[in-house]
């Protein structure tokens, strides 16, 4: 199944075209719209209640930190699992192929929220029944909520990205692999030098889209009592009885996060040479 967001890699813009692009951006109607938006923003700041903001700022920062940790850790670990999942579906023996296909189908076919609650409530209550686990070194961690949130996010990312890697591995032209074999490379070397780099390169634009989607999944950890950004805002809403201000603030923060992440990922993408 095709993915939603396929960003085409852009050539790095020169200073002249950038200037031209900027002039193309500031059309008269855009200036008017920007002024209206600024007026609306000023009205929001003036007429809405933002007195809670300074008091909650430290907690908001630590919530943001938790959101970023969840994102980076789940993407990093999930990608390590996605590689074998994708490879097994393309080149694995049939039991492995069926198992990884089944894993991806099940995880992609059920809501992440349900998986997270299964891990947190199900595994959490199961672990508590075994004295061996309760007395082990891992128990202080397993009593907290964040490991279950991280497991759920990682499993989800691995399944979605595994599907992407499957397509990327399958999409590397057979001729390139045959050429590598003809040069006398071993199977391992062919994988390391040709198949994997080429597949990764093909997967990069989709990977960027998947990372943005993953950022948008992180607030779900708040439902299992992990205090990420969303959980802090929920706390604000409960203690100040404000509805709109905290939510609008949250929308603004996520807009900035997604924007910054998009720019960063595009910059990373442009640094990787795309030689044909």
């Amino acid at each position: 199944m095709p993915d939603i967001d396929i960003a085409t890699p852009l050539a790095p813009a020169s200073a002249k075209t950038m200037l031209h692009g900027l002039r193309g951006f500031f059309l008269p109607h855009r200036i008017a719209m920007a002024l209206i938006a600024l007026a609306a923003l000023a009205a929001m700041i003036a007429y809405m209640d933002w007195s809670w903001l300074p008091a909650y700022l430290p907690r908001l920062w630590s919530g943001l930190g938790m959101t970023m940790i969840m994102l980076v850790a789940s993407v990093g670990i999930g990608f390590l699992f996605a590689l074998p999942l994708g490879l097994a579906q393309v080149a694995g023996p049939w039991p492995l192929r069926w198992m990884s296909l089944g894993f991806c189908t099940v995880v992609r076919g059920t809501p992440l929220l349900l998986q997270m609650w299964l891990f947190y409530f199900g595994l959490g209550s199961l672990f508590a029944q075994f004295p061996e686990i309760r007395e082990s070194w891992a128990w202080p961690y397993l009593r907290q909520a964040w490991p279950y949130g991280l497991i759920a996010l990682t499993v989800s990312f691995a399944a979605y990205e595994g599907e992407v890697m499957r397509g990327a591995f399958a999409g590397v032209p057979a001729g390139e692999l045959e050429a590598a074999r003809a040069f006398g490379m071993s199977r391992g070397k062919t994988f390391r030098r040709v198949w994997f780099p080429r597949a990764l390169h093909r997967a990069l634009p989709t990977l960027a889209g998947e990372i943005i989607l993953q950022l948008k999944s992180t607030p779900l950890v708040a439902t299992i009592t992990v205090t990420d950004l969303y959980a802090v805002i929920t706390r604000v809403r409960q203690s100040t009885f404000l509805t709109y201000e905290p939510l609008l603030f949250l929308v603004a923060v996520y807009l900035c996060l997604s924007g910054a992440l998009t720019i960063f990922l595009r910059w990373m993408e442009n640094r990787i040479p795309s030689g044909g």
Partner: protein, 239 residues
Amino acid sequence: MTEGIDFSLLALDAPGWGGALLTGFLRSVELAVGGYALGIVIGIIGAIAKLYGGRVTRDLAEIYTIIIRAVPELVLMLLFYYVGTDLANRAMQAMGYAGFDVNGLTAGILVIGLVQGGYATEVLRGAIRAVPRGQIEAAHAFGMSPAKVLTRVTLPAMTPHAIPGMANLWMIATKDTALLAVIGFSELTLVTRQAASATREYFLFFISAGVLYLILTLVSNYGLRRFEKHARRGMDAAR
């Protein structure tokens, strides 16, 4: 957990939770279908606004899709839910009705539809652009009104191009209904959690709900494949 699983908890009648789960499942499907349909309508309007609209309309549509694609669905749903019910309440009060309770199903469909609309706009815009210009120009040349060109030529011709993306969106819609559990809609995921915490059989209920979602996904996947084959008839087989 250790002494085996009590499957009688899934019985359809009162002591078992099977009936409640199935009702919740039905509710989820209703929400998904309604939200998806609303999303398609918003998507068509958005795609037309982006392709044929004036400068301001185009930019407004762009802002809408940027926000939908950048902000987590959970946050959007909360915001739409509060804004929507608040506005509806005020409108009803202004018209003279005292108390007004927004129907849960309507609010849920509205919330999912607004989120789906942002993605549908992008999918449909790409699909409309894939329709050869000549076909649309020919329809204009026959003297069809713009509305007739849309319903007779543009929409039918873009359907095969839109199906893969729209199928993906349907899968997202079915899974997004679960997020409504956080706002308190009694759809499948919330009912499952209630059943699980009442009986403390977490695995049994969460896995049963997972199976229900999976059945929905697999069945609709099969249906969408068949529909795609039907819509692509007569087009190039190679793709």
